[in-house]
Symmetry: C2
C-alpha cells in the first residue's frame, strides 16, 4: 500500500464506505463516504513513479516478508515502511532484509473490511494501535509520517508492538477448540458460534503466560482484553473477558470460520506469534505450559504445517531486548 | 440389569427391536423382534426375589461404582457381576468394594440404542467384546455365565479389558476438537460433522501411546481401529483409520454431540481411562506426550471438572500387573 504525499487524503478513522470506480478493470477513482478522492492502485507496484510515494504500509502475512522485500526492494529502499501487522520482530526482520528501510511495526491490521462489487465497507478500524521502530528515538518521527493517514496509531516501543498482537493470542486457541469445524470446512461465524466460556478459559490462560513473557522482556503487559477493548470499544465492543469482547463486537459479526487448518491463523500466528512467546519463555525462564500444550496438540492435528517459532525473528528480538536493557539508565540506587 | 435364570431369554446379538408394553407406567410385557419375552424391570432393584437373579450386569459410569455397590450390596453379594464397561481396574475396584462378588469387566457397553415411545431400537451391538476377571482361571467360568445372554462376549484378560476401552480413546479427543460446539450446546452429529482428518491424526497419536502402555503391562496391543472394526464391522463399519471407522458406521449416524463438557466423555473417560494411561506411562517409563497435552488443555477448558486419574484404580491395577507378571512361568532360557 504506497501512501502518496498528498496531505488532502482522507484519514481512516471509523467505519467508512469506500467506493471504487473501475476503468478497464482497474480502480481509477474512489469516493470515501461520498467524498471523491484520488487513488492509485496497481499490482505493478514498482511501476509507480517513485516521487509519488512518501511511505509504504505492508499488510501481509509475516512469513512472506522476505519474498515481498525481494520483489519490491526498489520501492522500499530508504523509505518509511510500516508492517501492519509486524509479527514478533517484524521491524527487525525488515531492517535485516533491507537495512536502508525506515522500518516500523504495528500490532495488527489497521482496519478490516469486505468488498461488495465496487463498494468496500471498512469496519474494525482499530483505535490506539501501537506502532514502534527498532530505534526508540525514531518512533515519534515515523509515527508522524504514518499518522497522517492512520491517525489512530499511537507511538509505543518495539517489545510491546512485537508482544501485543491480539490475533496471535486469539487465533490458535479458537482454531483448536473449533478444529473439526475448520478442518471439515463447516460454515460457522468465528466470533459468534465459535466462542464459548471454555474458549475464554483457554484464551485467558494463554494471555496470562503471554503477559509474564511481556514483563520478562520489558513490554507493556496489559491484558489482551484491554488491548482489544482499546481498539474496538468505540465501535461497540463490550465485556470484561476476551470471549465477551469478541462476541459483543459488531465488526466481528460475520467473520467466517476458516475452511482449512492451513490458514494464517495457524501458519502465521504461531511461527511469528504464540510459538515465539513459548520460545522466549524457555530462553528467559518463564514457563508457558498452557501455550505449549495448545501448540503441541495443534502440531499433532496438522503435521504438514510449519508451526515452529521463526528462529531468525527470535534471535533478532532477543538481541534487541538485550540492547534495550543495556541502554536503560541505571535506576537510582541500583 | 439383573439377569434371570431362564435359559429361554433371547440373546442380544445384532440390531433388534424391543417393544415394551407398559402397565400403570411400568414395563410389563415385551417383544424382541416380535417374539414375546418375560421382563422384570424395576427401579426398586432390591425388591426382586433373590432367587430370580443369577447374575448382574452393571451398565454405569465408572465413577459411580462405589455408590452403586453401597446401594445394591445385598443384591450383588456373592453373585457374578459384569461391569460393562469396567473402566480401568473396574473389576478390581468392585472386588475391593464387595469382596464376595464374582467380578468381571468388559471394555464397553454391550449394546446401545434409543427409545421411541415403547419401542427400543437396539443398535451397536458389539461383537467380540472382551471380558475378564481378576483371577485369570475364573474368566472362562464367568464368561459362560454372561455369554448365555450376551453371546458376543469373548474371554480375555484383565489388563486387556482395562486398557482397551475404545470410548476412553475416542471421547476426550473428539470432545477437545469440538469443544466450543459441545460447550455452546450447538447441535451436531458427533460421528459425522464431529469427525475430520485432523481428529484422526490426534486419535491415532493417542492410540500409539495407549498401545505402548499396553505392551508395558502385557495387554493385547492391537490398534483401536482393530477393536472398533471387530465390534462393528458386521453391522457396516468400514475403514482403515479410526476416523473412517467412526464415520462409516450406520449405528453412529445419529449420535448427538453432548451439550456440555460436564459429561461422561470427559468426567468418566478421563479419570478411569486416558488419564490412567498417562499415569501408568509415568510409572512404567512410557512417554505419553500427546495424551498429556490433550489432558492439560481439557483441564484448562473445564477447570471445575475432576479430570485426574482415579488413584485407587491406578494402584489396584499396578498391583495386579505385578502379581500377574510374578505368576508368569519363567520363559525357557530366561
Amino acid at each position: 500500500l504506497p501512501l502518496p504525499h498528498d496531505d488532502n487524503l482522507p484519514q481512516v478513522t471509523t467505519t467508512r464506505h469506500l467506493r471504487c470506480q473501475q476503468q478497464k478493470g482497474k480502480p481509477s477513482r474512489a469516493e470515501l463516504d461520498g467524498r471523491q478522492i484520488p487513488i492509485t492502485l496497481t499490482s505493478q507496484i514498482t511501476a509507480l513513479a517513485a516521487r509519488e510515494i512518501a511511505a509504504c504500509v505492508i499488510v501481509a502475512e509475516s512469513r512472506v516478508l522476505p519474498r515481498l522485500v525481494a520483489e519490491h526492494r526498489e520501492l522500499l529502499r530508504g523509505r518509511p515502511v510500516l508492517l501492519a501487522p509486524g509479527g514478533l520482530a517484524g521491524a527487525l526482520r525488515l531492517a535485516e532484509l533491507e537495512p536502508s528501510v525506515q522500518a516500523a511495526e504495528a500490532t495488527g491490521f489497521p482496519a478490516a473490511g469486505f468488498a461488495q462489487g465496487d463498494l468496500f465497507v471498512l469496519r474494525g478500524i482499530k483505535q490506539n494501535l501501537p506502532i514502534a521502530t527498532a530505534q526508540a528515538q525514531r518512533t515519534a518521527e515515523l509515527h508522524a509520517v504514518f499518522a497522517r493517514h492512520l491517525p489512530t496509531l499511537v507511538p509505543s516501543d518495539l517489545v510491546t508492538t512485537s508482544m501485543a498482537n491480539t490475533n496471535h493470542l486469539i487465533h490458535p486457541p479458537i482454531t483448536l477448540l473449533n478444529a473439526v469445524r475448520v478442518d471439515g470446512a463447516h460454515p460457522f461465524r468465528l466470533y459468534r458460534e465459535g466462542v464459548s466460556p471454555a474458549l475464554n478459559e483457554l484464551l485467558e490462560a494463554v494471555d496470562i503466560e503471554r503477559r509474564a513473557v511481556c514483563r520478562a522482556v520489558g513490554a507493556d503487559d496489559r491484558r489482551g482484553r484491554d488491548w482489544l477493548h482499546g481498539f474496538y470499544h468505540h465501535d461497540g465492543m463490550e465485556g470484561e473477558t476476551l470471549a465477551q469482547c469478541l462476541q459483543s463486537y459488531p465488526g466481528f459479526e460475520s467473520v467466517p470460520g476458516p475452511g482449512t487448518l492451513d490458514y494464517r491463523y495457524l501458519t502465521d500466528d504461531i511461527p511469528h506469534g504464540v510459538a515465539q512467546w513459548s520460545a522466549l519463555g524457555r530462553r528467559l525462564g518463564v514457563p508457558t505450559p498452557a501455550i505449549d500444550h495448545v501448540l503441541e496438540v495443534l502440531r499433532i492435528l496438522a503435521p504438514d504445517l510449519d508451526l515452529v517459532a521463526d528462529e531468525q525473528g527470535l534471535e533478532l528480538f532477543l538481541r534487541h531486548v538485550e540492547q534495550t536493557a543495556a541502554a536503560q539508565p541505571v535506576p537510582a540506587g541500583g
